[in-house]
């Protein structure tokens, strides 16, 4: 088996974001932008072959027969602004809600959107509490008056005005900063939250996945066992990265006063961290759910499931392994973006050494 880094693309953007298509051959394929800013899709193991097919986004329905749901999703992503995991998620939920993927998908999408709304409310309140705490004010009065009540709102406003004064900020500026932070932090939530937000839940599930896969591999002699070990290894590497990013974020929020005072420099950091977290965990939800479902199946089906998971495993990009320090540098991702060229290894952008050797050998014989 090749080493982990041999498998990994260079950057998240090169790896692309996973799209929850329902057409089997396209399930969890990744979408990214090419050098002309046009979308393209990466399809691994087509007809069980090695390597990855790169198909222009527009030409996808011509290349593969797709379900109606997938055609709509493809259209929504094309019309959307970008192809980050968050953009893709928005499009996926929108497509699922219309009913083209069945009633259960509608229910799931609506539940996810409800959860997002609740998290938004919760994080806003929690951040206000943090602001008040940072300047030494009590928030229990607001809670007692009721969050949504007029009295509660009035109290919040007056407390926030006081807080803005002590932070030497305009109240509107303080509100704007809190609102922006809430948008960034919404999928992650804060450490003390009674209800962990989506990405924290996903990280917890990923930990369980790693343990479950490690247990499964233990004493397993099937051909799928080394692949299972590899999956657990990738999960472990990802978790390490996730822990680092979450710790950084939690530390930033813990030093809340500093965060608000130095907002101009810190906001980039927070935004980068949350974006990075969504990239790190992108594609794992499908894998975790598929594996949980395979647990109830027969041994043979579990082997098949591991092979199938491997096909869509979100490998850590090569440059992301040691990129903690580079986090501060703006535009790192853009600078490192590479495109797939002919005759190079798509994962590393390096020359395909086997091919070079073959050509050299032919040249040697021809001379």
């Amino acid at each position: 088996m090749r080493s982990l880094t041999n498998f990994a693309p260079s950057t998240f953007e090169e790896r692309g974001a996973a799209v929850a298509f329902t057409t089997p051959v396209l399930a969890q394929t990744r979408v990214r932008k090419d050098d002309r800013d046009k979308l393209e899709v990466l399809i691994p193991n087509l007809s069980d072959g090695h390597g990855v097919y790169v198909v222009p986004w527009k030409g996808l329905p011509l290349a593969f027969p797709m379900t109606v749901h997938d055609r709509m999703l493809q259209d929504l992503i094309r019309k959307g602004d970008g192809c980050s995991p968050d953009d893709i998620r928005k499009a996926v939920l929108q497509a699922a809600r219309c009913g083209l993927a069945g009633p259960l998908a509608v229910e799931a999408a609506e539940a996810a959107l409800r959860d997002e709304d609740e998290q938004r409310l919760l994080i806003n309140y929690q951040l206000i509490v943090e602001v008040l705490k940072a300047v030494g004010l009590e928030s229990t009065d607001i809670l007692r008056a009721g969050l949504g009540s007029e009295k509660g709102e009035h109290l919040t406003r007056s407390y926030m005005t006081k807080a803005a004064q002590s932070l030497a900020l305009e109240p509107t500026e303080l509100y704007a900063r809190v609102a922006e932070l809430a948008t960034f932090m919404e999928p992650v939530g804060i450490a003390t939250s009674p209800r962990p937000a989506r990405l924290r839940r996903l990280a917890r599930d990923l930990l369980q996945f790693r343990d479950s896969m490690t247990d499964w591999v233990n004493g397993n002699v099937s051909e799928a066992a080394p692949i299972g070990t590899f999956c657990a290894e990738v999960a472990e590497h990802t978790l390490n990265q996730v822990r680092n990013v979450v710790n950084q974020l939690d530390q930033s929020v813990a030093a809340f006063e500093l965060l608000l005072r130095q907002w101009d420099t810190k906001r980039t950091l927070v935004r980068k961290s949350t974006t990075r977290l969504s990239w790190l965990l992108d594609g794992w939800d499908f894998i975790i759910t598929s594996w949980a479902e395979a647990q109830t199946r027969s041994k043979h089906e579990q082997d098949m499931a591991v092979h199938e998971l491997f096909r869509v495993l979100p490998l850590l990009p090569k440059d992301e392994e040691k990129s903690d320090h580079a986090l501060l540098a703006d535009g790192l991702l853009a600078a490192n973006r590479r495109t797939v060229r002919a005759y190079v290894d798509w994962r590393s952008g390096q020359l395909d050494m086997d091919l070079v050797m073959r050509i050299e050998a032919i040249k040697g014989k021809a001379a």
Partner: protein
């Protein structure tokens, strides 16, 4: 350890739902209690889950005794087809004490190594099975004079004599059966590959040479390890087991008889279950399964130029035809359409899931419609459904009447019934504003 029988009884049904690790623990505890009648009852209640989880059971001589023919036990309440020539657990429960007494404690102690693990188990296990085979043959002989008739309940169940005869024969070929199980693992085998067939043939030859009278049971034991016994029927004709051709024809006929009887039983159970609300997808799955068995059997028969079963196969085909007509096709279009048209956002997911299953069942049956002579009927039902659904989709998506989700759901139903190409076409037409 004290056991309250009532507590144990209530435990039985609970055990079907608890998680697997705890289930294994409880089974282990129950085994330690031993041969208490209530424990045995609990075991019979949880048998389907035992077969699924297969926790490591304590090795006993009774279990070893059953090992060669355990595949022929029928699971209570399982939805799998009953094994061919099934062995009744009641008979084994009554027979084992007699066999145990016949062999004697002293001799059993001599082969105690058979209860161990690993390679050292093989030799004593073989010795045990030959002792058991002799004991069962002896008991069988004595039943002819009327002995053991009460112990074994023979007077009430004459069929039990056949079971005991089968057990006696299978025990004489216990070793080849153990080898067969190794070849046909894990159970159930979905498709017979060359190594499976070679294995069956090689071991089958040994049996045909040494114990020709047990060959039919050997083949049945092989068939029982397959997901569909008719798969073996197709390959059996080409298999050279070293018999005379007349013996081969007789064996083939025997197996065909049992396979056809099994398909008949399944199709009859469908007919008796008809009426009331049905899971149409389950009906379609069953129909596809039965048609596959039917086709495999019919092909095998044609191969052997055997006309004996033609009439019986025709009856089976007719009952599957009825099954598809009444439980999949009848009223399908109306049901799907009404589910789509009365769709209220956020409500009644179960009804929509049911309607989707209905649509999937229609598509599934398109593969067998030709064989069953239902092509025309199926076509008219799907065309009608697709046309009405297209109308609904157009109303809601192009004309803006009602909720857009209704329109998309109608498109999805078309996709499930007629495939993505058709659904995409309809969607494109609607979005382009075409009227036809």
């Amino acid at each position: 350890m004290t056991t309250d029988p009532k507590a144990l009884l209530s435990l039985g049904t609970k055990l079907l739902d608890i998680d697997e690790a705890r289930f294994r623990q409880v089974v282990d505890l129950l085994q330690q209690i031993g041969d208490h009648p209530e424990v045995q009852h609990t075991f019979s209640l949880i048998r389907p889950r035992l077969a699924e989880v297969r926790p490591k059971r304590r090795a006993t001589f009774k279990r070893l005794f059953c090992e060669p023919f355990e595949d022929m036990f029928q699971l209570p309440g399982g939805d799998q087809p009953a094994p061919l020539n099934k062995v009744d657990r009641g008979v084994v429960n009554a027979l084992w004490p007699l066999v145990e007494a016949h062999i004697g404690k002293e001799r059993l102690r001599g082969v105690a190594g058979a209860l161990g693990d690993g390679a050292s188990r093989a030799e004593p296990a073989r010795a045990f099975w030959s002792m058991a085979a002799a004991a069962v043959a002896d008991i069988l002989e004595q039943t002819e004079t009327g002995r053991f008739a009460d112990d074994l309940g023979l007077r009430l169940n004459p069929d039990r004599v056949r079971t005991i005869e089968d057990i006696a024969r299978i025990l004489t070929i216990a070793q080849p059966v153990a080898e067969l199980k190794a070849v046909l693992s894990p159970k159930p085998i979905q498709k017979l590959h060359k190594d499976h067939l070679d294995g069956i043939q090689a071991i089958g030859r040994q049996v045909a040479r040494g114990r020709p009278e047990a060959l039919k049971l050997f083949i049945l034991l092989a068939a029982v390890r397959l997901s569909d016994p008719s798969i073996l029927l197709g390959s059996l004709w080409d298999m050279d087991l070293g018999q005379k051709s007349s013996d081969r024809a007789a064996l083939f006929l025997d197996l065909s008889g049992t396979v056809v009887a099994q398909i008949e039983e399944r199709s009859r159970s469908v007919a008796s279950a008809a009426g009331g609300t049905v899971d149409r997808m389950a009906a379609a799955n069953l129909a596809v399964d039965l048609v596959a068995s039917l086709e495999a059997t019919r092909n095998a028969m044609e191969h052997s130029r055997n006309k004996d079963f033609d009439q019986r196969l025709k009856i089976i085909r007719n009952s599957v035809h009825e099954l598809v007509r009444t439980q999949v096709l009848d009223g399908a279009d109306a049901e799907i359409l009404s589910a789509v048209e009365t769709l209220a956002p956020g409500a009644d997911t179960a009804r929509m899931v049911q309607a989707e299953n209905q649509a999937r069942a229609l598509r599934k049956c398109s593969t067998i419609a030709d064989t069953l002579g239902l092509r025309g009927e199926l076509k008219s039902v799907t065309q009608q459904a697709t046309a009405s659904l297209t109308g609904t989709a157009r109303q809601s998506l192009a004309d803006g009447i009602g909720d857009a989700r209704t329109g998309y759901t109608a498109i999805r139903m078309i996709e499930l019934i007629a495939g993505p190409a058709e659904a995409n076409q309809v969607m494109d037409d609607i979005l382009r504003g075409d009227r036809h």
